[in-house]
Symmetry: C2
Subunit: 204 residues, 2 copies
């Protein structure tokens, strides 16, 4: 197959582009820098991806498809609501500790390109909250958890997990800790977040 030979270069470009785009964002990223990172010539970027915009979209889709499954877990897993919250927090934080720039990149570009959002949502990979909603409503009725709108609970779960990474520079400043200590705080959050949420909603 002719694609096999080109594959190494093509994926080298994609990896380099991920690195640079996630760190700098679309607008501030430079094609030259991506080429340097990939150890090849600038012209190759255009040979494989035609334009900066198309290269960016390839990176964004790839990044988004890494996060989507994580988020799906909280929504569509066949487990109890408490387990979902515990699993999600633990898994998500482990994942992001390995990809520190990813959440900020996604959030950022979604904010900068409002029309881009629609394209993503229209795609099949975009999860839907309806199952989670139903589950929450059931548990409220059964008296297992206190009354809360599923939407608000969902927002809370996502916020507690994602923001500490996106807001890391700000939070490090406030609580006045170095990178190592902050990372330890994040490790602790693998269980801390779930405890915090469950303490809030569970009726004893």
């Amino acid at each position: 197959m002719e694609t096999t030979g080109s594959n190494t270069t093509e994926s080298a470009i994609l990896n380099a582009a991920k690195e640079i785009f996630e760190r700098k964002g679309m607008a501030a990223a430079r094609m030259q820098e991506i080429a340097d990172e990939a150890g090849i010539n600038k012209a190759m970027l255009h040979y494989y991806y035609r334009s900066k915009q198309l290269l960016f979209e390839a990176v964004f889709k790839s990044a988004f498809s890494m996060l989507a499954p994580q988020l799906n877990e909280i929504i569509n897993a066949d487990t109890s609501i408490f387990e979902k919250i515990r699993n999600f927090s633990s898994n998500y934080i482990s994942f992001v500790l390995k990809h520190p720039y990813l959440p900020n990149f996604i959030i950022q570009e979604l904010n900068r390109n409002p029309d881009f959002v629609k394209k993503i949502i229209a795609g099949k990979n975009f999860p839907n909250i309806s199952k989670f909603k139903q589950q929450v409503n059931e548990k409220v009725e059964e008296g297992i958890i206190r009354p809360i709108k599923a939407e608000q609970l969902f927002i809370n779960i996502i916020s507690l997990n994602i923001f500490p990474f996106i807001g890391a520079p700000l939070l490090k400043g406030f609580i006045n800790v170095n990178d190592v200590t902050y990372q330890q705080l994040m490790e602790d959050r693998k269980t801390e977040i779930a405890d915090f949420i469950i303490n809030s909603i569970k009726i004893k």
Copy 2:
């Protein structure tokens, strides 16, 4: 005074720059667009602020000094910990509903300019968490709230308040609501967040 006459133009520029920088970010913002927004010529931007970088820094400082007092409230107010949480959530959300691009702008630029962070933190306006920390530790010892590290509680409060605005495009997609409905959810959070937190930490 000679500055009085120039003041109108200078502040027109600053306001226009805020608008554009907050919406697009430093890298994607265009000096021409700022000039258009201010209704003046591009050359004037350089006359008053010398360079794009300096104009940006003026905007950033101004934006940051709008948020800092809000955050100070939770840290240094002379009220009970529960009141602090209630006041902060209510005030902060009211404030951000009026300045929707502000939190994302701050967070974003802090992430993109790691060295920039140090300059900000070195400034006098940067709050410190120590008083809040002491207060939390006391209440834990007194058995008023369950054991929790002050740092984690602080991160939770900030996350629950700020993220829903920064992550709005993503969250709107997930919970599948339009802008009006989402805004209503934010209104509800003025009390919802505090209830959620207090339910979690307060020992009955």
